[in-house]
């Protein structure tokens, strides 16, 4: 049941070297630098996004994800969900308006996987970059690199998937779109959506809490994924795997690493989900095919390299 959570709003990623990271996320991925703050954080967005930013980079001595946030319909929804998150037993922190530039107050909570998430309702809207919303052209000129169109989802690794599903489904109104089930019946991967997208957030079981697998950005076509791969080679960027297709969600994908070792994905296509759809289920014995539909075998790096 929808609870007023709309979509992924932003992700804050830790990087070892800000200049290298900004070059990667702007020149290569094609995000647009929107702002910087007095902490040295850099704010970026993909061109189709209406809100001012969706990716925040913070320089630190250890890479990974600080938090991921979801945007809600209204401040009233945030108040309501804050109460429900507390009743669920989440540790909660109120982050004041302006802590992120041009963003309203956020309610931060820790999921049972150990990751920090936020909900918020207010962020400055600067409109789609370069086209606006009045007689808009098809796309703006002047985009760089892969020309990523939006920040789409994150995949995170951690324990307690059942409790995390309960939290996201019952408190925040996500649906379970797709899952991987082990022979003993344990769910070892879960792809959750709060929209009709194949996933807005995904989790894979991992004993160590709070690990970051990747942040993903949407491209329009398979040809764009191929050209993204070309750009990775042109820039000698570390590729993880691809271009290929996933079994899970059936998206067309390539994985690579930012200069601090955080994994990124760009993908196109993929399935959709409505609330009346049963979850799609993969058996863990087929995990190779579920993750890499063509290779049909896992590589250890994809499973265990995390930040």
């Amino acid at each position: 049941m929808k609870k007023g959570v709309m979509r992924p709003g932003h992700v804050q990623i830790r990087v070892l070297d800000m200049d290298e990271a900004v070059k990667h996320y702007s020149d290569l991925l094609g995000l647009i630098e929107m702002d910087r703050d007095d902490q040295g954080r850099v704010y970026l967005k993909a061109w189709t996004e209406v809100d001012k930013f969706s990716v925040v980079l913070r320089e630190a001595d250890e890479p990974g994800m600080d938090f991921m946030a979801f945007k809600c319909l209204s401040e009233e929804v945030v108040d309501q969900l804050r109460g429900e998150l507390a009743a669920f037993g989440c540790e909660i922190e109120d982050v004041p308006e302006g802590e992120l530039k041009d963003c309203g107050r956020r309610v931060r909570f820790i999921a049972p996987t150990g990751h920090a998430f936020e909900i918020f309702a207010t962020k400055k809207q600067t409109g789609k970059w370069g086209v606006g919303n009045h007689n808009p052209e098809a796309w703006p000129r002047g985009l760089e690199g892969m020309k990523a169109t939006r920040f789409d989802h994150c995949l995170l690794y951690g324990p307690n998937l059942d409790e995390t599903l309960n939290l996201f489904r019952d408190v925040l109104g996500f649906d379970l779109a797709e899952q991987v089930i082990a022979p003993d019946g344990k769910r070892v991967a879960q792809f959750l959506t709060v929209s009709t997208k194949a996933h807005d957030i995904a989790f894979i079981h991992h004993e160590e809490p709070g690990k970051f697998h990747h942040a993903s950005f949407f491209l329009e076509t398979w040809q764009d994924v191929l050209k993204a791969a070309d750009l990775l080679s042109m820039t000698d960027t570390s590729i993880d795997i691809g271009p290929t297709r996933h079994g899970l969600t059936h998206g067309q994908t390539i994985y690579f690493f930012d200069p601090s070792g955080n994994r990124n994905e760009v993908f196109a296509g993929g399935d959709y989900h409505y609330p009346d759809h049963e979850p799609v289920t993969w058996d863990a014995e087929e995990l190779g095919k579920a993750i890499f539909y063509h290779d049909r075998a896992l590589n250890e790096r994809f499973l265990s390299v995390l930040t």
Partner: protein, 128 residues
């Protein structure tokens, strides 16, 4: 910020770029050439060797941790989680972020798969 910070041991004053240095991994006995300014991991990968596991190649994941047993090198930024100061002091570093200044002998102890990868559910059968 310089990508390669001099660290540990004394520099020999720098060698001209383009010179090849020899890197030997002690556990496997494998040896490969590394260009001055090139990371040890990249040199290994280019020569088709696998004596050090390859992860993110960005100093972030800790997959390619090695101990430098002898030789001088400079190093770039590495995750403090995987290379805290006490590890750095013992020459335990990430092969993707070290740049030889002299010939090196490194050691990469094979990790138990279970040590990195404890999830028994993530196995899959080979389909080919």
């Amino acid at each position: 910020m310089d990508s390669a910070l001099p660290c540990l041991k004394k520099s020999d004053g720098g060698r001209p770029m383009g010179e090849f240095l020899q890197v030997t991994e002690q556990c496997s006995g494998q040896s490969f050439r590394c260009k001055s300014g090139q990371s040890v991991l990249k040199a290994m990968e280019q020569q088709g060797l696998k004596c050090v596991p390859v992860g993110c190649r960005g100093g972030g994941c800790g997959f390619c941790k090695v101990t430098v047993l002898s030789g001088q090198y400079s190093c770039g930024k590495m995750s403090r989680m995987h290379v805290p100061p006490e590890a750095l002091a013992q020459d335990q570093v990430l092969a993707c972020r070290i740049y030889p200044l002299t010939d090196l002998i490194i050691e990469c102890r094979p990790q138990q798969p279970a040590a990195r990868h404890t999830n028994e559910h993530t196995t899959t059968k080979a389909m080919r």
